[in-house]
Symmetry: C2
Subunit: 345 residues, 2 copies
């Protein structure tokens, strides 16, 4: 596990992009498409943290979502908008595992063929589940091969539609239904959210959620949380432009290792986020152990970064009401054991 | 882990008891008291089981309940009905751990002192959490001391009110809100439940849930599930009278080791249940592993018996719609590791 510096950024601008890739109505339309297909995951109170942090905390466990992560939402929203002919030819995606499962499960529901290009070091559970949803899995070497080129091969040879992991309006709108649900559920619980923390890789969940939350609850300050060494969104917000992660970094947050913010997601996040911050693998492991002990939820490393930011005290939360997204739970038993043991569970 | 015979019983009679300890209106009243205090746990679909079992399956994860098990419901409902004076003198309970936490957390919310009598071999997490809710924990030797006598000492010396673990109308009605929620949530999901499986120790959750479910969904067949060696409800249903478990049996389902059905719970269960069955510790461990891998939920041994009954194929479920209660998730990491390793996770 790496332990590197941790930084916090405040977005340089609150100006919305000139022609945003996604607007709130797109998120509402996605919610209608997902009704009865995606799980409306609960917004669970965590009374144990009231004494510990002096904050009212809710978690949004997307680990309980179909396929074990929020990724099903965007994938289903994308496939729902393809033509019958396009669905017949099928879809192709590249993903370390959660988007893979989301696309595979959505394709299965639509009866569409799916090819998923996955790194050969993806967690076994993610590869097995993706195959379990009926997809054809093509493994590639993360260090030597170009997954986008492999995926393009399938779009050209078989006329398949590429389903991008985050930089696509339908994907962003679908992931935004997480934020839509949080806003409505907080309202039902009589809670006014001061803060919301999202796990951030390429920024699709973050952008969609921020769009929905800022529309319905403008006072909520939204922070993206990334693994240390993969804090591209954090540094990009500070710089005001998209920056890539330095090569050769390692993190066990396999779901959040995308190289740089998206061309569509970054302008949205730049205008909507209050900031971004990074957490170490050790902080993530401690959050996974907390989720096991107190929340009774299985959270994968990448799904625990937002909770890690809360628990490690990186943001002042006393007296505040906070929502934290737990974005996924697809973790191999061996990795889970290592993480909890390292956290002294 | 023990591996003993497994039996299924069909209740000998459908005649309700002459004057039942609890009626449906009591469950409705409990639900009103619990509103905003207990978590309305979701009823989650498990699409992965549709292909595997040919059944539509929902789980009711009470692991997400306040204190990590359904026990908070009954305890809070009981304390809500005490007088201010009674609450001031406080409450006493004996429990291996989940009822302990439920009573301690409810007492804390009411500002009432609580003494909890727990076996010295209770899981560490249960003892620590009970103390964490501000209760005074008194440990006793399970083999040599009489926990009820110790508890009676506190009722006499300090005027405390005993909060029984299951054989009390307010406790049964509180636990029954699990069944009330299942019936309403299944209705919202457009599901007609053919079967419901509940975890069964002393029978409070089972009786309350069966009462609510049979009232709102009379066609649902409800089965109690017990650990092998502690199948007192199963054998009592067959015999038509309350029978105790043989001494000296062992099971790692620490939450379900009560000696015999309750005087109040048994008549209700006899008139409401379609049957009861038992599962081995190995089947329970396999269910815990399934919950980890597929449901992303941490389920303790006693909380996994109903799921174990479903997964081990002990009931014909093809073409049926089934609800399964996961009653608690308070399990030490060491026990969890052993269970999942033994199940080949």
């Amino acid at each position: 596990m790496t332990s590197s510096t941790v930084s916090t950024a405040i977005a340089a601008t609150a100006t919305p992009p000139d022609s945003p890739a996604v607007v709130f109505a797109d998120v509402e339309a996605a919610a209608r498409r997902l009704a009865g297909k995606a799980v409306v995951t609960p917004l669970l109170p965590v009374p144990a943290l009231e004494a510990q942090l002096g904050a009212r905390v809710f978690v949004k466990p997307e680990v309980l979502q179909r396929t074990g992560s929020f990724k099903f939402r965007g994938a289903y929203n994308k496939l729902a908008q393809l033509s019958t002919e396009e669905r017949k030819r099928g879809v192709v995606a590249f993903s370390s595992g959660n988007h893979a499962q989301g696309v595979a499960a959505a394709a299965q529901l639509f009866g569409a063929p799916a090819v998923i290009v996955m790194p050969s070091d993806a967690p076994d559970i993610k590869v097995a589940n993706t195959r379990g949803y009926g997809a054809e899995v093509v493994l590639y070497d993360r260090d030597r091969e170009d997954r986008e080129a492999i995926a393009r091969g399938f779009t050209q040879a078989r006329g398949m539609t590429l389903v991008p992991p985050f930089d696509d309006p339908a994907i962003i709108a679908g992931q935004g239904t997480v934020g839509l649900e949080i806003a409505r559920q907080a309202d039902t619980a009589g809670a006014k959210l001061d803060l919301a923390l999202t796990c951030c890789g390429g920024g699709g969940l973050t952008a969609g959620t921020a769009l929905a939350l800022k529309t319905l609850s403008p006072a909520t300050q939204i922070h993206a949380v990334e693994p240390a060494g993969f804090d591209d969104t954090c540094r990009s917000l500070l710089a005001g432009e998209r920056l890539a992660n330095a090569p050769g970094r390692k993190s066990f947050c396999d779901a959040l290792l995308s190289p740089m913010p998206g061309a569509l997601t970054f302008p949205l996040n730049r205008s909507l986020l209050a900031g971004a911050l990074a957490v170490t693998d050790a902080e993530v492991a401690a959050a996974m152990a907390f989720a096991f002990r107190t929340l009774k939820l299985v959270v994968e490393p990448g799904g625990a970064v937002a909770l890690a930011a809360l628990l490690s005290g990186k943001l002042p939360v006393q007296g505040k009401t906070v929502a934290v997204i737990l974005s996924g739970g697809n973790v191999d038993w061996s990795t889970f054991q290592q993480a909890l043991s390292s956290a002294g569970a």
